[in-house]
Symmetry: C2
Subunit: 233 residues, 2 copies
DNA sequence: ATTTTCTGGTGTATTTTTTACACTTTGCTC
DNA sequence: GAGCAAAGTGTAAAAAATACACCAGAAAAT
């Protein structure tokens, strides 16, 4: 029996979904969180978490809800990426998707799966499997965005634990930009921005000289955001 | 009698529209094209051209279609801006709008109105009237985008006639960025980019020394885009 | 015919920013 | 205490950004 179709409109409407590219950093590699699809279409293929937008929520709220339901993530940095609307992007019919990207600190959000019993897994951006729908296109766009964005806004801190070393920060920039950076020049620039607070604390249980921990100075950043500033690496 | 509602779905769906901020430059000021609304809601208020997305077109195609229908504009530069989805942004019900911005050469597209008998008018960005829906929010976002974009991509050329003088180009940058630029330094940078072709032609019927016309070298630009480059002013 | 007005067009010196580059320090392991 | 591994640090050279003022040429006004 066909399911009841009780929401009727004068003109046809596309379905509206959100999808979210969740970036995480484990100290070495940049990763994204993928969900294995349990149903057709693309059953068994990997995809970014996402779902239908409800009538009483914005697309951003919808994306955040899905983030929590499918990946168990709450209170993360999220920003709109792009709206994908190819007529045939979903074999089930006309579906328009507002894509977001999120940045999470992977150490505080490990292997992970949400309430749903779906299989979730972090993949290095260097080894992404074949994806469902147009999610490869979404991924490419998210990579471009994060590469561009990190050069003029300190979003990198969203990917790190509260306390981090300068080397960790540099590895993160190198992982996102996919280039090598000069240690001395990197530190010079970072320090000139005046957005870091050096803590008294140092690394422990490392088999080499212990590095100082730093913290991001959110208050100073807010001030600078208002005045307009540049964060070029 | 209520209109027939023949498109039925299992779950409710928001309506999907596009809106387009059309920027034009008249040689002095940056302007946007607004349409006076002929019907409720917001009857008599100004708004950006837009309309419902059809089932056989992407949102970009829909935005282009509206551009032609409502403003008589064809083959213009257009790019996605942002998707606006506040639950109460439209008093008629749940409407999600994918906003675009377009750049047109105002001299080749004067006062203008499309097939629709709607009233269309160019407004200086310094004197925008009160707008319908959340269009003031859309406008602010479009201004931020164009200001950011023009610093690293030569989109300015879309706003100028095919042949233009260096002063016209500088006025355009000043109008978009809302700052004054130094003439010699501006010319130095523009010339170093190597994207302009100086023509043999000069201004005519001007009551001062005639300026040389220049042309944008699209071929070189395409090459550079692939290699990745910077267009900082 | 001369002067005025208006915009076009040009170069240099100074400061700031970016880049390239190598050794010492520290703490642990063996 | 020798070896290892990453932390941490400065300077010189090159490149880019900035500040700045006058002459050229065409038309209009006198």
């Amino acid at each position: 029996m066909e399911k009841e179709k009780k929401y009727c409109y004068e003109y046809p409407r596309p379905a509206l979904t959100t999808d979210c590219v969740i970036f995480g950093f484990d100290g070495l590699e940049l990763k994204v969180l993928l969900i294995e699809r349990g149903i057709e279409p693309y059953k068994g293929r990997w995809a970014f978490p996402g779902g239908f937008v409800q009538m009483n929520e914005t697309t951003e709220e919808g994306a955040k809800r899905e983030l929590e339901e499918e990946a168990g993530l709450k209170n993360v940095f999220i920003e709109q990426l792009y709206t994908f609307s190819d007529v045939h992007r979903d074999p089930r019919g006309r579906v328009v998707s507002v894509a977001y990207y999120a940045l999470v600190n992977l150490k505080e959000h490990p292997a992970t799966a949400g309430d749903d019993a779906k299989k979730a897994q972090w993949f290095s951006i260097k080894k992404i499997p074949s994806l469902a729908f147009d999610h490869e296109k979404i991924f490419r766009m998210a990579m471009l965005r994060i590469k561009g964005k990190i050069r003029y806004q300190p979003i990198g801190f969203e990917l790190l634990p509260e306390k981090f070393t300068l080397s960790e920060l540099q590895y993160l920039y190198e992982a996102i930009l996919e280039i090598k950076l000069d240690k001395r020049n990197f530190r010079k620039k970072i320090k000139k921005m005046n957005l870091l607070i050096e803590l008294d604390e140092k690394q422990q249980n490392v088999q080499h000289k212990a590095a100082s921990f730093y913290q991001f100075d959110k208050q100073k950043y807010e001030e600078l955001l208002h005045k307009g500033f540049n964060f070029e690496i």
